[in-house]
Structure formats: structure tokens, C-alpha cells
Symmetry: C2
Subunit: 229 residues, 2 copies
DNA sequence: ACCTGAACACCGTTCAAGT
DNA sequence: ACCTGAACACCGTTCAAGT
């Protein structure tokens, strides 16, 4: 018995194991539950043991971002730039959807890890190879913002399911004060064939904006746009 | 003496005063320094005294977001939709730039306050009055994302000034591993006429992406686009 | 040299005791 | 009824004592 427990504890606590456990904990219990103390507990280890594999919590967060980025598919080869970029970004989006906390953690990072830099470098390369000037590529990357990593910050979470009765009351109150918001909310609800649709088709919205931007980029590329214009 | 202190303490602790102090504290000391305890100390009050004017920290954060949104100029009247939307968003951007912590706090909100809803409603109204269908307006608002409030999450903070010597070494290392990133970084640096330019022209980048989107929206409006296409 | 328990300096918030 | 100090249940991290 004691031997078994000892054996379990002896699985050496690598950085990789720490990061994996952190990702799992964030996935299961939410990012707000990811503390050094709880993570240590999850690993059957004293809190301070983590600090041998990770300098501090910031580095832990950098690490789990790298784990998520590792799930993004490599670029597809043999298509035009737009298709290649589009597919890569949608793959990134899939990875991010698997870890709902990831976008929030990415936003809180102050310096990019090597893994992030490598990803950005490969995305920039796709534009450059596709015929974009350095200048245009620069601005295009800024215009993409976090969308290059497959997410946009939706301003508010409309995914929380609310009691329909409560929602009906809210609609009544909203209609008076915020007529335009209500108008759109009702239209969106109808599309989803429920009286009080619980939100929008995120995938559609993401691709709508993505394609709008990519089409705009292609137009600028064709007319050899420069920032001196 | 005692009378004076008492008099100071007697300035009644309104919700307004609490929020103002919170904004000032976040402006001066950074958002990470805004705790209930420090805020109370700043106001010369016991921590629990705050809870009479604010239910909890979440409500405090909602409150300070409302204060910032209150600084956004009302819509300009008498121009086309594009100009009106553009100006309003740039005004929002100015307000957000005055409070660098604001975008981060906004992103962390889960439900919009009435002030936010009012702002969104008026933005939606500008599109509707400008001739956009409910359907197109809906998708356009999603495509704008946080840009509607005047900010985008730049993926990483390139504004931190680094020792030029250190930066030179970094460039050398980066050039090998991340050639495309380096190419853009060097071009951006040249534009700013310094060997190691400290970042990009954020205002230019913001307007570049904003205009790209607005032009795209106008194009869709003119061709009476619907999501059924 | 390595590991780790206790401790430190913080949090947001509850609650009961004091006025 | 109102106010508030102490306490609770947490944090991330330091540090010295133990092996």
C-alpha cells in the first residue's frame, strides 16, 4: 500500500507533466480554479515542488498557452494564400474552442513565448509568399489582431442559458430602453427557431468577419497598396 | 485636529465617490493595485464600508467601466453613417487610451451594464439609420467586436522600452529563428527613423483595420447582402 | 544538495460583537 | 439599526529548518 503510493509519487514531476495537469485542471474546473496550490494537490505534491519545473505562475500560464498552440495544425500546402491562411486560422479556432480559457490567458500574456513567435512567423510567411509586401503584411497582421490565433473577444457572453421566463421579462424591459438591441436579438432568436434563441452562431460570425478582412486584404494586394498612399 | 479628520471622514461615502476613487487608483497605480482593501485605505475608510455602496468587487468593476464609457462623446449628427460611426469609435478609443486598464476590465465582464447596452444600442442605431438591414447590422456588430468600443487586443505589448543593447542581441537571435517577424520589425523600426523603433503606430493600425471593415460593410450594404447568400 | 513545512504578505467577503 | 473588527478561506511566494 505504502509502496504503491510511493511509486505513484515517484513518477517524476517533469515540466511536461505539470503543464499537462494544469491544462486538464483548467479544462475541468475552469481557469479561475487553476492555482499553484490546487495544481500541486492534483499532482499529489507539495505546492513548492512545482517551482522546480516552473519559475512562477506567469511561466506556468505561458506554458499552458504553448500546449494549446501545439494543437494547431500545420499550414496546408498547395493552395493560394487566402485558403491557406483561412484554414490555419480555423484550425487555431478549433484548438481554442477545446480550451475555453485559452483566449483569456493569451490576452493576459505580456511577452510572446517562442512557440507563439514561431506561429506568428509562419502566418506572416504565408502572406509574404502569397505576394504581400512587407509593409502591407505588417498592417494586415495588426488588422487581424487576435483573430490570427482564432479568437475574437466577443464583448459579452451570450451563451449562458437563462430561465426562459426570466428572459421573457428581460426582453420586455429591454424593448423599451434598447430598441435596436432588441430588434437584433429577436431576429437572431427567430433564425434559430426558438422563441428565445440563446445566442448567435459563433462560427458563422467568425467566418463572416474573417472573410471580410481576407477579401479586403486581397483587394489591397492586387492594387499594390502601400501605407504611403 | 480630531475635528478636521472627523470632518474629512464625514464626506459621505457615495457610490459615485467610491467609483471615482477606484478609477483614480487604477489610473495611478495600475489595475492590479485596485483591491477593495487598498481602495478603502485610499478613502480613509474600513474595507467593509465599501460594501454599502457596491455589492462586491464585480459590481465595482462594472461601475468603473461605466465611468469610462461616460467619457465617450455622443454621436455626431448630420453626416453619413460611416463618418458618424468612425468618429464615435475614435472617441471611444480616446477614452480607453486615458484609462489603459479599461479594455482588460471590459473583457472580464460577463454581463453588460445598462450603460454598455445604451452605447451598443446607439451604435446599432447608427447602422440601421444608415440603411443597414437588421440581418447585416447583426453580423457587422459581431465583426466589429471590441473595436466598437475603441480597442482591439494587440496580441503582445510591444511598447515596453528595452535597453537598446539588449534589443540588438535579441534581433540577432530572432533573425535566425523568426525571419519574417524580424523583417517586419526592422521595416517598422526604419519608418520611425530609429535603429530599434519601439513599436508601431497604434493609431494608424487601428484606423487601417477600422476603415477596411467599414469599407467592407458599405460594399455589402450597397449590394443588399443577406446571410442567406 | 535537495526538499518542504511554516510563515509572510496579501486577497474578497462573512459574521458576530459592539455601539 | 448601523458600523466594524476579527476571522475565514483562500492566494503566490520566501525562507529557513530539516533531511
Amino acid at each position: 500500500m505504502t509502496v504503491q503510493v510511493d511509486a505513484l509519487r515517484r513518477v517524476p514531476l517533469s515540466r511536461d507533466r505539470v503543464l499537462r495537469a494544469a491544462v486538464a485542471l483548467a479544462d475541468d474546473a475552469g481557469i479561475e480554479s487553476l492555482s499553484m496550490r490546487k495544481l500541486a494537490q492534483e499532482l499529489g505534491v507539495v505546492p513548492m515542488a512545482l517551482y522546480k519545473h516552473v519559475a512562477n505562475k506567469e511561466e506556468l500560464l505561458n506554458g499552458i498557452v504553448d500546449v494549446v498552440l501545439g494543437e494547431i495544425n500545420p499550414p496546408v500546402r498547395g493552395t493560394d494564400w487566402k485558403n491557406a491562411v483561412r484554414q490555419r486560422i480555423l484550425s487555431a479556432r478549433q484548438a481554442l474552442l477545446r480550451h475555453p480559457w485559452a483566449s483569456q490567458v493569451i490576452e493576459s500574456r505580456t511577452t510572446p513565448t517562442p512557440v507563439v513567435l514561431e506561429y506568428l512567423d509562419s502566418m506572416i510567411g504565408m502572406f509574404r509568399v502569397g505576394g504581400f509586401s512587407v509593409d502591407l503584411t505588417h498592417h494586415v497582421m495588426h488588422a487581424m489582431g487576435s483573430r490570427i490565433l482564432g479568437f475574437t473577444q466577443e464583448l459579452f457572453d451570450d451563451s449562458q442559458s437563462v430561465d426562459p421566463e426570466v428572459q421573457a421579462v428581460m426582453f420586455g424591459e429591454m424593448a423599451g430602453k434598447y430598441p435596436y438591441v432588441t430588434e437584433i436579438a429577436m431576429a437572431a432568436a427567430h433564425v434559430e427557431e426558438s422563441v428565445v434563441g440563446q445566442g448567435c452562431d459563433d462560427q458563422f460570425e467568425f467566418e463572416f468577419a474573417l472573410d471580410l478582412l481576407l477579401d479586403g486584404f486581397e483587394r489591397l494586394r492586387q492594387q499594390a497598396w502601400t501605407s504611403a498612399d
